[in-house]
Symmetry: C2
Subunit: 444 residues, 2 copies
Amino acid sequence: MKALEGYRGLALKLLQESGAQIGDLIEVTRDGESLRGFLMPRSEYDDENHVVLKLSSGYNVGLRVGGSVAIRVLEKGVKPMFKRPPRPPPKPGLPEAYVISTGGTIASRVDYRTGGVEPALNAEDLYSIYPELSELANIHTTLLYSEFSENLTKEHWAGMARAVAEAVNSGAQGVVICHGTDTMGYTAAALSFILQHPPIPIILVGSQRSSDRPSSDAPSNLIAALKISLSAPFAGVYVAMHESSSDEYIAVHRGVKVRKCHTSARDAFKSINAPLAARYHALTGTIQVLDDHLPLRREMGEVKLEERMDDNVCLVKFYPGMKPKILESILDSGLRGIILEGSGLGHVSKALYEPIRKAVERGVFVGMTSQCLWGRVNLNVYYTGRDLLKIGVVPLEDMLPETALVKLMWVLGRANSFEEVKELMTRNLVGEISETRWFQGCGP
Amino acid sequence: MKALEGYRGLALKLLQESGAQIGDLIEVTRDGESLRGFLMPRSEYDDENHVVLKLSSGYNVGLRVGGSVAIRVLEKGVKPMFKRPPRPPPKPGLPEAYVISTGGTIASRVDYRTGGVEPALNAEDLYSIYPELSELANIHTTLLYSEFSENLTKEHWAGMARAVAEAVNSGAQGVVICHGTDTMGYTAAALSFILQHPPIPIILVGSQRSSDRPSSDAPSNLIAALKISLSAPFAGVYVAMHESSSDEYIAVHRGVKVRKCHTSARDAFKSINAPLAARYHALTGTIQVLDDHLPLRREMGEVKLEERMDDNVCLVKFYPGMKPKILESILDSGLRGIILEGSGLGHVSKALYEPIRKAVERGVFVGMTSQCLWGRVNLNVYYTGRDLLKIGVVPLEDMLPETALVKLMWVLGRANSFEEVKELMTRNLVGEISETRWFQGCGP
């Protein structure tokens, strides 16, 4: 955290003159009245005219500066100290595990004095928060990123893949990635395509409540993730999160079939168009495999990377009355591919056929998914769907729109022709397309 | 259906010369070989060089024309005839009900000869398909539109609202709208805002399988919709569809809280962030009210319309790595408002802050919903959310993104200032925003 983060203009000047830093206990006096509190950070979108204090009541107040305002430091802030147990010495009998932190709630502590969220994921912190870990494995921690997950891009995905490969190829028996929940599904899909045949399960894990709240799901999720990564009989990329609001069951989702379906609940993550991969029973520490089509764990094996991705793509959700000019303006921005979230079985209004046709003629890949999320697209049921097929729209079966977007980025990074893009997008590579078991007989 | 729908160029010329029409049994001869079948329609995206026949085997074949092709009509097609019972005379004791058809699977018959789907919703057809109806009400039918629901626009919504108002204001005790399922949720939301305090329940109903398939959900849905509209104790706009795959329970959803969540299943419609309004028990014909906050049915009462809408709006789903230039190009197309589907509690990447800020400065309304769909947005939990608030993004609570888009169109059609737009968008008008009962305590 920067010394006077977010302050500009007059407020910054006055604070600098006083020698105050974020977290200091300061006193602000104006017209004979004084207020005391801890100096809070601001953001670049705040104005220049206020200093924000956290009062002892816990409330934040913004004080307007200017005129005869005086600022005085009463007490320098001290970084909050956690009482850390000494890191246990490596035990020869235990497996080696890697915990890679990328940010998000699970890898943070809230500093209640400033309200700021700070990364807390060196090995000592982990052992301090989760003492049980020292019985499970010798844990190596990497603080790879400290970023809100909405800010992650394909470069971060490649960086995570490299960190995973390094860990696996140096003999790790378990690899866990701590990740913000907002875009964990997108990252899980990306790693599923980038990491070529990992021999062990790579588990992404997050939490919906931070680890220093009593209601936090962080400890149960993290411990489950480690145990699953160390001992599950399958390999690949998965997400492990609460199955319900209780700590008892942790659901394991395929990385290409999972979606955050609630803004705040602990059981926000759902497998869509696929069974759960597995369920971890916290009370017994056992793993129940629920999908018998998962790739198997291998004793030995390196993981290779195919990390090139092209992000000249776009995800567009259709809605009735969508104006063709909006789709045109998106398509005119130099895209190489677009994923449509159509209605129902994969439809868009006929007003959009012409911009789509022009895009296809220019060599833009246009893939169709459904905003229903559940179920499979089918462009053969209604003649409007058949029209889209003739225009060149490619139906993407039961793939999640988000997974389809990530896959398209990856496919465009490696395919040499439009035909190869089409072939790869419609072929099941890592479980992103399910078989059509229960789809028969739908439609009029 | 047009006489030679979809044919162009040489194929059209040859067919016209032969006097053939869609549905005729014709013979196509080339190089001494002949094929017989029913002439099928084509679409404007088909090529000009093929004539398509449905063979007696049921398969369609495309025959290339040109060279020495000869076409001969063997038998003129006859419109398929249904054996309709005579329409029963109006019974004085029965209530008056209106069934308004707008298209979609529920109001169609498949013509198996041509594969075409034809509207079938005059009163005789209805009584023919659903003889039970004659015991329920004197039914007036209106074939308002015959359109796939992905092609409906705000003009259609206004037209439906006028048809509903006409029916209600002429004394109807029940009004049902048959609608394609693809965009039924959007239409239900639109009618919820346009129809001012309807005294009875207006029920939108659709089917996932057409009415002449044995597995069709059309009869059970339509009969339930009529009974609910005639006798439920609440008023407003609702969607009635199968609650599960069985015909036993029909779920009644608030028009502003419902979403199609499966491409093909009978129980595709779900209430999101709200309880079911009611459940209809098909075996007993009873209605179980599940939400005790619904507006009550009134014995008398007219319905007024507020039908003006502005569709210079857009729904944009965020994804990691979304390029600012894409959002800019959308915003530069003269929009007055945009609904973002952010990640998690309502986030987008910081790369998008600048285009959003510029749009807000130009007076564009920017509302935030969540792509999670379930749960409530909250821009106060993380400082990234607070940044968005400062930029001027307006959090839209637990409103569905689709409902928020429709509401924004309606609000922009009537508000006189940016402040009024904001005020109306964040105020619960017809149940689109739920109370924050179970949201307390979320976040880090």
